[in-house]
């Protein structure tokens, strides 16, 4: 009996310890509580498969960060809150109007709207813009090269040689802001629409404020941050209904929760215990059919402006031969690749995706991408090229279905007479590995999602000027004089006048397809999937930022 009591004591002690320790710490909140009322404003539960990299606008760069930051930190310009092509249109943000651009394309002038206040009630000043840009540069924002490479004096500021950016002038009295560029860069207005250029007050700490994001100008503000677990986007009390024309005030507060298990994420939305599925996640094939059959009225496939392709090293054998590159284009069965992504990949052949100005409307040069491949022709081309039997290392990352894409690609290369082997590496090091010029990778997986709706953002990947020793993004080392001369002209055209050069971009993209510099195989679709509490029809899927949280409303 005595020993029995001792043993029981150990068990009771362990249980008590468990309860005590579990009680004393803070922890994550429930994932099951769905939409609830919070005062007058209702709340919806938005699930995110991946946490935003940073909620501080000065650091955030991923799509997950852009979603909440876009509606909480408005820059001088922003995008229209609309779906499809109208959503790619730049509209004035905290500036009164779109920029006045000098004839040489090197000076952008804005005037700040009057009477604007931050989400803490303090007035917005013109000089806050320069502070915002300098802050994000000091924080090493992932896209800071857009600033250092374009704004006069930004590089000197970044290198510690200047105390401020000489190319940004502002006058708090008149609200005038002038930005001087090193050279004309047509997409610069798009750069200013990044949430990272969304104004924060002068004096905001130059440190990662993701746990307590700084005040901003926008219909929402980010609060209650539990890193990697949850945060809230609540309506900004200082945002009047028509504070900035074209930026809606929003209807609900949003409780964002990070759910890394995509299956559980989909199940919660399907059972209406959460409201929104993360569009950047893939709906698992195990639940896709149920979603399509049980929730067809609240599920849709939305095209995204992205290109999936295999890069081909044009500097080295065998892909230095155009015939070999053409053979690859003929041999790829893009329908098979689409099946590997549960049908979420629309077969394609052009580098500029649907939804991007300059996307060609004509037929593909090497057969219908939605049709059967032409293996006979491909094999013949390989024989003619004299490259049959050449060894090729195909690079890929572990993430599903990207590894499967590479498996398939290697099998295709083998089937047409090359000798392919795979090298699969961790996702975290993949792009930095293949971006190392010394490695000289022969072929492999690559993709691009637009940073902004401007074809120059995609052509950065085929621009010879992008070839660099580390972090090279022109993986195929494409260096074509025609592309370079066209880019030299087209990159100067301001975003607001892109339509005027659409046919020229189109011609350039058709030229690239004919040269088969890359083996493009598709554009990704993403799921728009919501609970039956949300008014699905009025919810906007934005072409740049995915789900537009300001458009969500309860039925």
């Amino acid at each position: 009996m005595r020993k029995g009591s001792k043993w029981s004591s150990i068990v009771v002690f362990a249980l008590l310890l468990s309860v005590l320790l579990a009680a004393c710490g803070s922890s994550s909140s429930s994932s099951t509580s769905s939409g609830s009322s919070s005062g007058a404003t209702k709340t919806v539960t938005n699930l995110m498969g991946t946490a935003p990299d940073y909620l501080d606008p000065g650091l955030g760069y991923t799509t997950q960060a852009a979603e909440p930051d876009w509606i909480s930190y408005t820059g001088l310009v922003t995008y229209a809150h609309a779906k499809g092509a109208p959503g790619t249109k730049l509209i004035p943000g905290v500036a009164e109007s779109l920029p006045q651009i000098s004839a040489d394309g090197k000076t952008y002038t804005f005037t700040l709207r009057k009477g604007l206040v931050y989400s803490n009630g303090k007035p917005v000043k013109a000089s806050d813009f320069a502070y915002t840009i300098q802050r994000s540069m000091k924080l090493n924002w992932g896209g800071k090269s857009f600033f250092t490479g374009n704004i006069v004096g930004a590089e000197a500021f970044d290198g510690g040689k200047a105390k401020s950016i000489s190319g940004i002038e502002s006058d708090d009295t008149s609200g005038k802001i002038t930005i001087h560029l090193v050279a004309p860069y047509g997409a610069f207005a798009n750069v200013l629409a990044f949430p990272s250029a969304g104004l924060v007050p002068t004096g905001t700490a130059v440190s990662n404020l993701s746990n307590k994001p700084p005040p901003g100008v926008g219909p929402y503000m980010i609060t209650n941050v539990v890193p990697n677990q949850s945060f809230s986007a609540v309506k900004n009390p200082y945002w009047a209904k028509e504070e900035i024309p074209g930026i809606p005030a929003g209807h609900v507060n949003i409780n964002a929760k990070i759910v890394t298990n995509t299956q559980a994420e989909a199940e919660q939305v399907l059972t209406n215990s959460a409201d929104v599925f993360d569009w950047a996640d893939t709906l698992p094939s195990s639940i896709l059919q149920q979603v399509q059959s049980q929730a067809s009225e609240r599920y849709a496939k939305e095209p995204t402006v992205s290109t999936f392709y295999f890069f081909l090293n044009t500097k080295n054998k065998p892909f230095s031969s155009q015939k070999v590159r053409e053979a690859v284009a003929y041999a790829l069965d893009r329908r098979a690749l689409s099946r590997l992504d549960s049908g979420f990949l629309a077969p394609a052949c052009f580098f500029l995706p649907v939804g991007m100005i300059g996307h060609p409307t004509g037929s593909c040069p090497f057969g219908d991408p939605s049709g059967a491949p032409n293996l006979t022709k491909a094999k013949k081309l390989i024989t003619e090229s004299g490259m049959a039997g050449t060894s090729v290392t195909v690079w890929g990352e572990t993430r599903e279905p990207r590894r499967e894409y590479v498996d398939y690609f290697a099998s295709v290369l083998n089937s047409i007479g090359l000798k392919a082997n795979e090298k699969i590496i961790a996702d975290a090091t993949y792009f930095s590995t293949i971006g190392n010029l010394k490695l000289n990778p022969q072929a492999g997986f690559a993709d691009w999602n637009q940073d902004f709706p401007n074809p120059s953002d995609f052509y950065l990947l085929l621009d010879a000027k992008s070839i660099q020793s580390t972090n090279n993004q022109n993986f195929g080392q494409v260096n074509d004089p025609h592309i370079q001369s066209e880019l030299a002209e087209l990159n100067k055209v301001p975003s607001t006048k892109l339509e005027s050069v659409a046919s020229r971009w189109q011609a350039l993209d058709e030229y690239v397809a004919k040269k088969a510099y890359t083996a493009v195989y598709g554009y990704e679709d993403d799921p728009k999937f919501m609970s039956n509490r949300i008014n699905f029809g009025s919810a906007i899927f934005h072409p740049v930022y995915g789900n537009d949280w300001t458009s969500w409303q309860l039925k």
Partner: protein, 316 residues
Amino acid sequence: MARFVIRRVSSMIAVLFAISVLTFLIFQAIPNGDPALRLAGRLATPQTIQDVRRQWGFDKPLYVQYFKTMGKIIDGQVISYQQQQNVEDEIAHDLPVTISLAVGSAVIWLVIGIIFGVLSAVRAGQWLDRLLTVIAMFGVSMPVFFLAALLDYYLGYKWGLFPIGGYVKLTSNPWGWLTHLILPWASIVALSVGVYSRVLRSNVLDTLGEDYVRTARAKGLSERRVLLHHVLRNSLVPIVSLWGLDLAALFGGATLLTESVFNLHGVGQYAAESIGHLDVPPILVITMLTAFFVVVFSALTDIVYAALDPRIRLTG
């Protein structure tokens, strides 16, 4: 006792130092694992990468980097590369989840494992033994992540008996805390019950054949008293050792798969995400935490040993 404590503390310091050096070096050896490349972003210029390298001290010799990181860990100031969050704050935030999961499941599997093991041994060869053997084999052969996914799918999503993942604080809603943890506990318990019950069955059967058990019976003690006071007490010694180490591993993140499936946001899930991003500071802290728990629980196990078997002395 003092000698025991001193020896254990000094061995713990040595283990933590060795583990931290090894972990740090392993991540330095990964090809293209340079954190500056990831911190600078995909579009960074070589100059920006160089700036980041200098700013974060990645250009310093390895030993300097190591001691600087360890200094920050000791000061509680170490931040992750991936999101620049204070690692120890994150772990402190996640630890209650892992403790709830680990201690709860460890207690359940121990209790059930002992019941199953003893019943199997005393009914050896009979239908109950065979049934418990089948259950144990099922638990052992079922991968944790698969069982967790099945439980989540059928009991959570399909039949709606339990919440679909997530965690609720004990202090905010005790019932919610319990209901959110039942499925995660079950998925861990299934595996360990199988192992513990088989080990205990074997130990009990061996002990039942010992001379002192025959003597106890000859003295006229009841079968229940013989079983509980003479057989079970001696059979539990290896189980205690196993339990201590398993519990320590659970604290240190061995709950990774279960936490990920049920989206609990505990230390295990944090470890998994950090490994995916090759984020050295959190991995370093979690590895050291695991080692710490293993050493501490190993010491506690020795103390329990001594309680169970007076012949064992705490000599370190």
